[in-house]
Assembly symmetry: C2
Homo-oligomer: 136 residues x 2
């Protein structure tokens, strides 16, 4: 039974974020002392740590809550968890691909730059580049 500051240290979740999680319904409301201070049991700390690990892996809070639910459920949780993680990984890979396209486009633009030219080819490209329809 520890205070919020110690729970923060033990879970790796900042104090303000713990309170935010409580407000947002991500974790259960902990008990309080007579004076109104939050008091955390070991399982509350475990929940916070679980959420933090999910967040470190890029899962949304919604996914994190779902995974936490699955972790309690002994039946068929592995399949479901695998599906959640698989979908998340697919999104991560999509984003990597997007960023790699961005990197390539930026590299092409920057390549002809920074040589002190009169007319900047990058700025020219930005002014006259792809038309609105070709957005992708």
């Amino acid at each position: 039974m520890i205070a919020i500051g110690e729970a923060a240290r033990a879970s790796g979740v900042p104090v303000e974020t713990i309170r935010y999680y409580e407000r947002a319904g991500v974790v259960a409301k902990p008990r309080r002392t007579a004076s109104g201070r939050r008091v955390y049991a070991p399982e509350d700390v475990a929940a916070l740590r679980f959420i933090r690990r999910c967040r470190d892996l890029g899962f949304s809070l919604e996914d994190a809550v779902a995974l936490r639910g699955l972790a309690r459920d002994p039946k068929g949780a592995c399949d479901a968890a695998g599906r959640v993680a698989g979908q998340h990984r697919a999104k991560v890979r999509d984003k990597i691909a997007d960023l790699q396209r961005l990197d390539a486009a930026l590299s092409e633009l920057v390549a002809n730059c920074d040589r002190g030219q009169h007319d900047c080819p990058m700025l020219h490209q930005l002014m006259a580049g792809p038309d609105p329809r070709a957005k992708g």
Copy 2:
């Protein structure tokens, strides 16, 4: 001299976003008709298109505004623009690296999953994984 809807079509920036850009000081306030409707000149549309291309390349609005300023300035703009773009590309690459680490971690976790096991190794890992100090 066109209305906002046509400016949106011509620039590829949605109407609501154009108004948001105006509020946020990203683009200059356009003239108005007697009844208060916004009226856009070709150079206003060009500015919107410029901002949109910057956004498509992942630049922040702040960078987009800076680049637009440089595009007007004939002196030394290329160097400065190259620096802005170079820094942005570095951030993009950092993010790619982050996401690739995420992808690897997720792949490892998912690998032993989705086989209908009794105890899900991924959920176990999330419950007992890296401690709060080893956050990176």
